[in-house]
C-alpha cells in the first residue's frame, strides 16, 4: 500500500517529465529521420554517476570513467558528494523527480531504503544474462550484505554490485611499540594499560597512546565493536546483537552501558578535542606522529599509506580490540556497491551496466587496490599473496572482513546511523549523559526505529 502511494508520487512527477521528453524525443527523431541516417543504438553514449568524494573511491571512479571512454565509448560525468551529504542529496532528488544520475555509489546501509522504494534497478536479469560479472569471485557475504535486498515481491534480489567490503582495523606505530618494548594491545584492558604507559611519558614526549574517533559520524562504531565482542551470540538467533532474525529488539542494555562506560573512561588519555574527531581528524593526528595507535576504516588510511605517508615503514596493522582479554575481536563492517537508478531510461541503464561491469571487475579491483588502496570485495584480490606482500594491511583487512559484524539490515539503516540511536550513543561516549541513560535511550530509539520502518515489536 505504502509503496503504491510512493510510486504514484514518483510516477506523477516522472510521467509529466517523461511525456515532455518523449514528445521532444519524437520530434527530434522525426527530424533526424528526415535529414540523415538513422541514429539508433541500444546503449547511451553519456551517463552520469553520483559518487562519493572519499579519495580512494573517487580516484577509482575517475580512472575507470577514462577507461570507459576509451574501451566502451561511454562518457561518464561524475558528481562527487561528501559521505555526509550523499544519502540526503540522492533521496531528495528522487523525491523531487530531479534525479538525473544513472549510476549511484551506495553504502550498504542505504540499500534497503532505496531498493524497497523501487528506486534502484533490480540487477538479477543483468547478472543472470552476463557471465562477465563473475559473481562467484565476490566474497559471498559482501555480495549478499552489500548488494542484495528483499524486493517488493518479498524475494531477495541483487540491487548493487559490490566494489568495497571491509571492516575497521587498528593501525599502530611499529617504531614506538618497539622502543617501548610493548606488544600491541588486542583487548580493551591491554589498551588501557598502553594508554596509561604513553600518557605524559618523558621517553615519548608529545605522544598519546591512541587517537580514536569520538565524533558523531564515526564514534559509535567503537561502542558497537565492544558490545558485539561481549554479546552472547549462542543464546539467540541474530547476526548483529541489536535485533533478532524476526526483527525484535534484543539489545542488552547492560552490555551496551558497559561498552559506553569503557570508551568514555579512556577520554582523559586521548588528545584534546577528540570528541569531535571523525576520519580526517584521527588520520591527521596519527600521521602527524603524535599517537601510537588509531582505529579507522582501512581504505581511507590506506590511501594515505599508498600515496605518500609521513610514516613510511613505521606503521603496522592489527585487529580491533576485544572487550575482554582473550575475547573475540568483532570489527565494524562496512561496504559499498554501485547501482543503477531505476528511473533512468533503458539505453542509459545499459550503458550504466557496462560501466558497473568494468569498474567492479577483478582487474579494476586489483588496479584500485594497488593505485589507491581502495578495499576490494573479490576473493581473488583479497587472497592474492603478492598483493598481501606489497600492502601489509590487506591481510588484517581480510581477517576483519571475515570476523566482523555488520550493524544489521533493515529498511531504516540510514536512520540507524544518523538518528537518535547513533546520536544517543555518542552522547554517552563523550560524557554528556551517563552510560546507563545512553543505553536506555538507545534501546528506546531502536524500538522506535524498527516500529517506524515496518517491523512491529511484540
Amino acid at each position: 500500500m505504502e509503496q503504491d502511494i510512493f510510486e504514484r508520487i514518483l510516477a506523477s512527477t516522472l510521467n509529466r517529465r517523461q511525456a515532455l521528453k518523449t514528445a521532444a524525443g519524437a520530434a527530434a527523431g522525426i527530424a533526424l529521420a528526415a535529414c540523415g541516417p538513422s541514429q539508433t543504438s541500444g546503449k547511451a553514449k553519456s551517463i552520469k554517476l553520483l559518487a562519493s568524494d572519499l579519495p580512494p573511491f573517487l580516484q577509482a571512479n575517475k580512472y575507470w570513467a577514462n577507461q570507459a571512454k576509451s574501451r566502451l565509448g561511454i562518457d561518464i560525468s561524475i558528481e562527487p558528494q561528501p559521505y555526509g551529504n550523499l544519502f540526503a542529496k540522492a533521496t531528495a532528488a528522487w523525491i523531487a523527480g530531479t534525479a538525473d544520475f544513472d549510476l549511484i555509489i551506495v553504502a550498504n546501509q542505504w540499500t534497503g531504503e532505496w531498493a524497497q522504494a523501487g528506486l534502484l534497478e533490480n540487477l538479477d536479469s543483468y547478472v543472470r544474462s552476463d557471465s562477465g560479472i563473475k559473481k562467484d569471485d565476490f566474497i559471498q557475504r559482501s555480495w549478499e550484505s552489500t548488494g542484495s535486498w528483499k524486493g517488493r515481491d518479498g524475494q531477495q534480489h541483487q540491487f548493487e554490485i559490490p566494489f568495497n567490503s571491509e571492516g575497521r582495523i587498528r593501525f599502530y606505530r611499529t617504531d614506538l611499540f618497539e622502543k617501548a618494548k610493548r606488544t600491541v594491545p588486542t583487548s580493551f584492558p591491554e589498551y588501557v594499560d598502553t594508554l596509561k604507559f604513553f600518557k605524559n611519558n618523558p621517553d615519548f614526549p608529545n605522544v598519546y597512546g591512541a587517537v580514536e574517533m569520538f565524533g558523531k559520524e564515526q564514534g559509535p562504531a567503537i561502542v558497537h565493536e565492544l558490545y558485539q565482542s561481549t554479546f552472547p551470540f549462542d543464546s539467540v538467533k541474530t547476526s548483529n546483537g541489536w535485533w533478532d532474525d524476526n526483527f525484535q529488539v534484543i539489545m542488552d542494555e547492560g552490555l551496551v552501558a558497559d561498552a559506553i562506560r569503557k570508551i568514555n573512561s579512556v577520554l582523559p588519555y586521548q588528545p584534546g578535542g577528540v570528541q569531535a574527531y571523525n576520519l580526517p581528524e584521527a588520520i591527521n593526528f596519527f600521521e602527524a606522529g603524535t599517537a601510537a595507535m588509531t582505529e579507522v576504516w582501512p581504505s581511507v588510511y590506506g590511501a594515505t599509506l599508498t600515496s605518500g605517508t609521513k610514516l613510511p615503514g613505521k606503521v603496522g596493522a592489527s585487529p580491533v580490540l576485544s572487550a575482554t582479554v582473550g575475547g573475540p575481536s568483532k570489527p565494524f563492517l562496512g561496504g559499498w556497491g554501485m547501482a543503477i537508478n531505476a528511473k533512468s531510461p533503458s539505453d542509459r541503464k545499459q550503458a550504466a551496466w557496462e560501466f558497473i561491469k568494468l569498474s567492479t571487475s577483478a582487474e579494476a579491483e586489483r588496479h584500485d587496490w594497488e593505485s589507491y588502496a581502495r578495499g576490494p570485495s573479490r576473493k581473488s584480490v583479497y587472497n592474492d599473496p603478492d598483493l598481501q606482500k606489497k600492502s601489509f594491511w590487506l591481510k588484517a583487512m581480510g581477517e576483519a572482513a571475515a570476523n566482523g559484524v555488520n550493524a544489521g539490515r533493515i529498511k531504516g539503516m540510514a536512520d540507524f546511523y544518523g538518528g537518535d540511536f547513533w546520536v544517543t550513543c555518542n552522547q554517552g561516549m563523550v560524557g554528556s549523559i551517563s552510560p546507563e541513560k545512553a543505553a536506555s535511550g538507545m534501546k528506546k530509539a531502536l524500538v522506535d526505529l524498527l516500529t517506524k520502518n515496518g517491523y512491529p515489536q511484540k
Binding site: I5, A88, N206, G215, G273, A288, N426, Q427, V430
Partner: protein, 301 residues
C-alpha cells in the same frame, strides 16, 4: 529630485481602471507572493505534520500523533532547552556589550565614532556560515590559530561540554553585538543633551544619569532591538552546522538543527513538520506577548 507624478499623466489605460482593480493591481503581487512563499508552505507543512511521511512517502493519517510524539521525546525537550540557553546567553550578552559600547562611544569617544561604527559594522556584513567556519578554524584542536597563539595543546572548546555551546554563543555575539550597538547609538544620539546636563547639575552620578535619565529615553529602542534579536536567536542554525554540527553528542543541537536532522537527514517529514509547527506556535506566542507589552507601554506599533 523629480517632479511629482500626477494622476493625469498616468497611462490612459491605467487611469481608466476602477478603484477596485487599481487596488488589486498594486496589492495583488504582494498578496500572491505572500500566499506562495508564506501561507502555502505553512499550510502544506501543517498537512504534512498530520501524516506519517517517510522518505517522501505519505503513509497514513495520524492526526496530532506526530505532535504527541515530539512532546513525549526527551530529545525534543533537550533541543528546546538548548535553544533557550543559546537565546538567553546570546541576546543577553549582545545587549549588555552593545549597550555598554554605545554609551561609551556616545559619551567618551565621540571623535572616534565614525571609525568605530564602520569597524563594528563588518561582522554584520559577514554570512553566518562564514562566521561558523571562521570560528571552527580559529578553534580547531589540531590546526586552530588559538593553539599557536596561546600554545595550549588540545585546546578544543568546540568539542567539550559546556564550551561547545558557549562557542556557538560567542559566534552569534561576535556577529550581532554591532547590530545592538548601532541601534543603541542612534537612540542615544537622539537624547537631548540638556536632560543629561540638568541631571548633572542636580548632582546625579554617572550611573544615576545613565539609569534614570538615559535609559528610560531609549527604552523603545532597547525593546525593539531585543525583540528583533530574540526572534532571530531562537533559530540559530548556520553557525551550529558549520561549527559543531550539533555536537558533541547533542550539546549544541537546538530546535532548528533538530528539525533539519529529522526532516532533511532522516527524512521523517511528518515529525519534522510537527516540530516546526510547535516552534512556530511558541515563537508566535512569545512575539505576541512582547508586542502586546511594547504596544501597551511605548505605543510603538
Amino acid at each position: 529630485v523629480g517632479e511629482p507624478v500626477s494622476v493625469s499623466r498616468l497611462p490612459r489605460n491605467l487611469s481608466r481602471l476602477s478603484k477596485g482593480a487599481e487596488h488589486l493591481l498594486f496589492v495583488g503581487p504582494a498578496v500572491f507572493l505572500l500566499l506562495a512563499i508564506v501561507i502555502f508552505p505553512l499550510v502544506y507543512t501543517f498537512v504534512a505534520s498530520l501524516y506519517n511521511w517517510d522518505l517522501g512517502q505519505m503513509l497514513d493519517f495520524v492526526g496530532f500523533g506526530n505532535y504527541l510524539n515530539q512532546f513525549r521525546d526527551p530529545n525534543f525537550w533537550l533541543a528546546m532547552f538548548v535553544t533557550l540557553q543559546m537565546t538567553v546567553l546570546s541576546v543577553g550578552l549582545e545587549f549588555v556589550i552593545g549597550l555598554g559600547l554605545a554609551i561609551l562611544v556616545n559619551r567618551e569617544l565621540r571623535a572616534l565614532q565614525p571609525v568605530i561604527r564602520t569597524a563594528l559594522l563588518i561582522p554584520l556584513f559577514t554570512a553566518p556560515v562564514v562566521v561558523g567556519s571562521t570560528f571552527r578554524m580559529l578553534l580547531d584542536p589540531q590546526f586552530g590559530v588559538l593553539q599557536f597563539v596561546f600554545n595550549i595543546r588540545g585546546f578544543a572548546p568546540t568539542a567539550t561540554d559546556p564550551f561547545a555551546l558557549l562557542t556557538v554563543v560567542a559566534g552569534d555575539v561576535w556577529q550581532w553585538t554591532p547590530f545592538m550597538f548601532i541601534i543603541f547609538l542612534a537612540a542615544l544620539q537622539g537624547v537631548p543633551r540638556d536632560t543629561i546636563e540638568a541631571a548633572r547639575v542636580d548632582g546625579a552620578s554617572g550611573w544615576q544619569q545613565t539609569r534614570f535619565v538615559l535609559l528610560p529615553q531609549i527604552a523603545y529602542a532597547i525593546v525593539v532591538a531585543l525583540l528583533l534579536r530574540l526572534m532571530d536567536a531562537l533559530k540559530i542554525f548556520d553557525v551550529i552546522v558549520t561549527l559543531t554540527r550539533g555536537g558533541p553528542g547533542r550539546s549544541t543541537e537546538d530546535a532548528t538543527f533538530a528539525i533539519y536532522r529529522l526532516g532533511l537527514e532522516n527524512f521523517y517529514t511528518g515529525d519534522a513538520a510537527a516540530f516546526s509547527w510547535i516552534l512556530v506556535v511558541i515563537l508566535s506566542v512569545l512575539v505576541g506577548i512582547l508586542f502586546r507589552q511594547i504596544h501597551g507601554r511605548y505605543k510603538l506599533v
